[in-house]
């Protein structure tokens, strides 16, 4: 059997029983709607958090309330996390066209490394939230803020800080594993051309 005969035989088996084009088209229409809504939802959520952050900062600049100042600081500290979300969102929208698989893998690796570096922002965010919670506690203790506000804000911010810290630790581990997987696949491609 010649090579061409062998390929022809494989082709016959490979192309046997193709799926219906109508089913593919219907599935695609459904999938496209779902993706559109999930992207719009993510974008709206990010815009809402950013708007809240900006309005808090504005309120802090307008008045001289210690509690508001601290709140604004806490919200501004959340900006790195929001930016991280935006980078991830942009990554989802990337086309991955007009480049080789190896190029795409290397580009993805660079992006993952950037995301890993950006996690420093989340660590700062957690530290600032913790400091803000302590500051509110101190303000309440020295009668510069109402104890009821402190009762609400201190556990809220401390809890958020702990959650952000745990999240970044989990995310850092996940991204490190992703880099390792990327390196393995990149090596698979590079080995072929040796």
């Amino acid at each position: 059997m010649t090579n061409d005969d062998y390929i022809a035989l494989l082709r016959r088996d490979w192309q046997r029983d193709p799926p219906s084009q109508d089913t593919i088209a219907r599935g695609f229409a459904r999938h496209r709607r779902w993706v559109l809504w999930s992207v719009v939802g993510g974008l709206l959520g990010t815009i809402a958090v950013l708007a809240a952050c900006i309005s808090m900062a504005q309120m802090a600049f307008a008045g001289h309330d210690a509690l508001l100042d601290t709140s604004a600081l806490a919200f501004v500290a959340a900006v790195p996390v929001i930016l991280f979300g935006l980078v991830a969102l942009r990554g989802r929208l990337r086309l991955g066209y007009d480049q080789t698989s190896l190029g795409l893998l290397r580009q993805t690796r660079d992006r993952v490394e950037t995301m890993r570096r950006m996690l420093v922002g989340a660590r700062w965010c957690a530290a600032i939230l913790t400091a803000a919670a302590m500051a509110v506690g101190l303000l309440a203790a020295t009668a510069h803020a109402s104890p009821s506000s402190a009762f609400l804000l201190v556990p809220l911010w401390s809890g958020t800080a702990a959650a952000v810290w745990l999240w970044q630790a989990w995310r850092a581990r996940e991204l490190a594993n992703r880099v390792a997987r990327l390196d393995a696949v990149i090596a698979e491609f590079e080995a072929v051309d040796c």
């Binding site: 090579n3 062998y6 390929i7 494989l10 082709r11 088996d13 490979w14 192309q15 046997r16 029983d17 193709p18 799926p19 084009q21 593919i24 088209a25 599935g27 695609f28 999938h31 496209r32 993706v35 086309l95 991955g96 066209y97 007009d98 480049q99 080789t100 698989s101 190029g103 795409l104 893998l105 993805t108 594993n177 992703r178 997987r181 990327l182 393995a184 696949v185 698979e188 491609f189 080995a191 072929v192 051309d193």
Partner: protein, 160 residues
């Protein structure tokens, strides 16, 4: 100017097979196919006038496939066998053919990614020139990879 409907009509079944070379699980394979189609749909306006459609479509499909492999290696899902649609043949003929098709798809999935990419495009009847264009490698490199992929595939099919 190519419409997306034309792409689905012309390449839909081929893309489904390319998806099967990256994923054995039926539901995940369906998701991957939809991701490939969505990426092609988004990239379609960037296709230059006069550019060949097949390399454009399969370049995106394979890049999505590679991304999928990365994700699935993380999830470490257990693969299940490819199950093609039943055909109107005698039960015995169907059984033998379905079995051969299943074995071939499983063997292709076991090839290293660079070989898997070239062999699926050969099986989809692309020329070496089109494969080179789709994968961004030289024609001589395509020849080398096809030859190695074929050897590995023969061995895998013999082993089963």
């Amino acid at each position: 100017m190519h419409t997306f409907e034309t792409i689905i009509r012309t390449y839909g079944p081929a893309l489904a097979r390319i998806a099967s070379s990256y994923e054995a699980d039926r539901a995940l394979r369906e998701d991957l196919l939809q991701e490939m189609l969505l990426a092609i749909h988004r990239a379609l306006p960037t296709l230059r006038d006069g550019a060949s459609l097949a390399p454009f479509v399969f370049c995106i499909a394979h890049n999505r496939g590679v991304t999928h492999v990365l994700r699935e290696r993380a999830a470490r899902r257990n693969a299940v066998q490819f199950e093609p649609r039943d055909s109107p043949k005698t039960p015995e003929e169907s059984r033998i053919e379905t079995d051969r098709t299943r074995r071939l798809h499983a063997a292709v999935r076991r090839l290293p990614l660079p070989y898997r990419q070239v062999i699926t495009l050969v099986l989809e009847e692309l020329s070496h020139q089109e494969i080179a264009e789709a994968l961004g490698i030289s024609i001589s490199n395509v020849g080398v990879r096809v030859s190695r992929a074929k050897d590995q595939l023969k061995e895998l099919l013999r082993d089963e």
